[in-house]
C-alpha cells in the first residue's frame, strides 16, 4: 500500500480543514510537474533487486509482483534510481 492522490481536491473554504492539515497522508497536489526527465524501467532487464525502491528519496518506486514500478504523479525525476541500478534497467527519458 502507498499513499495516493485524492480525487477530490478542496475548492471552497468549507472543505478546508480547520486544523493544521487533513489527516496523515491526505495528498491533494502532485509533484509530476517538477520533472524534465522520467525514469523508465525495462522489465526484461529488471531482476527485482529493489535497490531503486530503497534509494528513491520520494518513495515513488514501489514493488509490483517481483519487480518494481514508478508512481509518475510524484516522481521528481532526480535520476538516483538510474544511477543505483547495476543492470542498466532504468533509462531517463525526456519529458515532452
Amino acid at each position: 500500500m502507498k499513499p495516493y492522490l485524492r480525487d477530490h481536491a478542496p475548492t471552497s473554504f468549507d472543505e478546508i480543514p480547520d486544523s493544521t492539515s487533513y489527516e496523515a497522508g491526505y495528498l491533494v497536489t502532485k509533484n509530476a510537474g517538477w520533472r524534465s526527465v522520467r525514469p523508465v524501467i525495462d522489465p526484461d532487464k529488471c531482476v527485482g533487486c529493489l535497490n531503486c525502491y530503497l534509494y528513491c528519496p520520494d518513495g515513488v518506486i514501489f514493488r509490483q509482483g517481483d519487480k518494481v514500478s514508478v508512481d509518475y504523479d510524484f516522481c521528481k525525476g532526480c535520476g538516483i534510481c538510474q544511477k543505483i541500478c547495476r543492470l542498466g534497467a532504468i533509462t531517463m527519458e525526456e519529458e515532452k
Binding site: M1, K2, P3, L5, P10, I16, P17, T20, S21, Y22, E23, A24, G25, Y26, L27, V28, T29, K30, N31, W34, R35, C49, L50, N51, Y53, L54, Y55, C56, P57, D58, G59, V60, F62, R63, F74, K76, G77, C78, G79, I80, Q82, K83, I84
Partner: protein, 296 residues
C-alpha cells in the same frame, strides 16, 4: 530476520513531500519511518523536513507528525513520550528528525537534557552540513573549506575556517544508551541501526549524513554516490556507541581520493591543493584516533 529491502515495510510514510529532487534528508526520513512503522510520532523542528512535509492542507507524513520549536525537538519528544505513557499507550516510537543546525547549534541543549533524563526517544539528525532550508548558511556541522552564504570563498578566506563539530562523540560522551553514525549511501547499515534503536529503551541518537544537491552544488542524481564516497574516502565513518564502547562498522582498507570527492561539489570548487592537504591530514589524524580507540 534481518531487515532488508525485501523485508522492510512496504508502506510509505513520507510521501508527496516537496523536497528538492534528490534530497538526502528526505531519504533518511523515508527509510527511518518505514523501519519504525505506522505507530511512530515524528517530531520535526523548523528546517527542511518540516518545510517540505507540512504543506497545508496536506500532511506528507503517513504517521502522526508535529512541528516543534527550532530548539525543542528533544524536549517535545520527551513530552510526546511522557504524554502517551501517561495514557497507558506503550507500542509507539517517538522519533525526531532534526537537521544539523537544529541539532548541533540550536537544539543541543534540549537534546543534552533528554539524554540526561534517559527519555525513551529516538533522535535522528540528518546532517546536510549547513542551514539549507534558509538558503545555505554555515552551521557548526559544516566541514572545513565549504562555501556557504555566510562563509563565502574569497581571495583571503576560502570558505569555512572551522572544522566540523564532532556531534556523535559529544552525544556519546553523555553515556547515552545508543548512538550511531550512518550515511544515506549505505542504507542497509542505517536500517539495521534504526531497527536496533527501535528495540532499545532509553535515549537513542543516530547521526546520518545526507547530501543536499542544492546546497552542495552537485547534480540531483549524485546524492547517493556522494554519500557513499564520503565514507569511502574516510571523511565520514559508520560507527556505533553502546555500553560505553565505540565500534567502527566500516573500516575502508584503502581510502579513495579526498580530492575527487571534494571537487565534484561546487561548494569546494575553490579549494587549493594546500586546503585539500589540510583536509586529508585531518582525516588521517581522525582515523589514527579511531583505530586506537574504536573496536572493530
Amino acid at each position: 530476520m534481518a531487515i532488508s529491502a525485501k523485508t522492510i515495510n512496504e508502506t510509505e510514510f513520507f510521501y508527496g513531500h516537496k523536497a528538492c529532487a534528490g534530497c538526502g534528508g528526505s531519504l533518511a526520513v523515508k527509510i527511518a519511518l518505514k523501519v519504525l512503522g505506522e505507530k511512530s510520532i515524528a517530531v520535526v523542528p523548523a528546517g527542511c523536513m518540516s518545510a517540505v512535509g507540512f504543506n497545508y492542507p496536506q500532511l506528507c507524513f503517513g504517521c502522526n507528525a508535529i512541528i516543534s520549536t527550532f530548539a525543542g525537538t528533544a524536549s517535545m519528544l520527551t513530552g510526546v513520550e511522557a504524554g502517551l505513557r501517561a495514557q497507558g499507550i506503550t507500542d509507539f516510537h517517538a522519533v525526531g528528525f532534526a537537521g544539523d543546525g537544529g541539532t548541533a547549534d540550536i537544539g543541543i541543549q534540549a537534546l543534552s537534557g533528554a539524554i540526561d533524563r534517559n527519555d525513551d526517544i529516538l533522535y535522528i539528525c540528518y546532517d546536510n552540513e549547513a542551514y539549507m532550508n534558509t538558503g545555505i548558511q554555515k552551521s557548526s556541522l559544516t566541514p572545513f573549506g565549504a562555501k556557504t552564504t555566510t562563509t563565502p570563498a574569497g581571495k583571503n578566506i576560502r570558505g569555512n575556517i572551522r572544522p566540523k563539530k564532532n556531534m556523535f562523540e559529544i552525544v556519546a560522551a553523555h553515556g547515552i544508551s545508543y548512538a550511531a553514525t550512518a550515511s544515506v549511501g549505505y542504507l542497509p547499515d542505517f536500517m539495521k541501526k534504526v531497527e536496533k534503536a527501535k528495540n532499545i529503551r532509553g535515549t537513542k541518537y543516530i547521526h546520518i549524513l545526507a547530501p543536499c544537491p542544492t546546497g552542495w552544488g552537485a547534480a540531483a542524481n549524485e546524492t547517493v554516490e556522494l554519500a557513499k564516497e564520503v565514507v569511502d574516502c574516510g571523511l565520514w565513518y559508520l560507527s556505533e556507541y553502546e555500553n560505553g564502547e565505540f565500534t567502527i562498522n566500516n573500516r575502508p582498507k584503502e581510502f579513495t581520493s579526498v580530492e575527487h570527492y571534494l571537487k565534484r561539489q561546487s561548494r569546494f570548487k575553490h579549494l587549493t591543493d594546500e586546503d585539500i592537504e589540510i583536509i586529508t591530514n585531518a582525516r588521517d589524524k581522525k582515523w589514527e584516533y579511531i583505530d586506537k580507540h574504536f573496536a572493530k
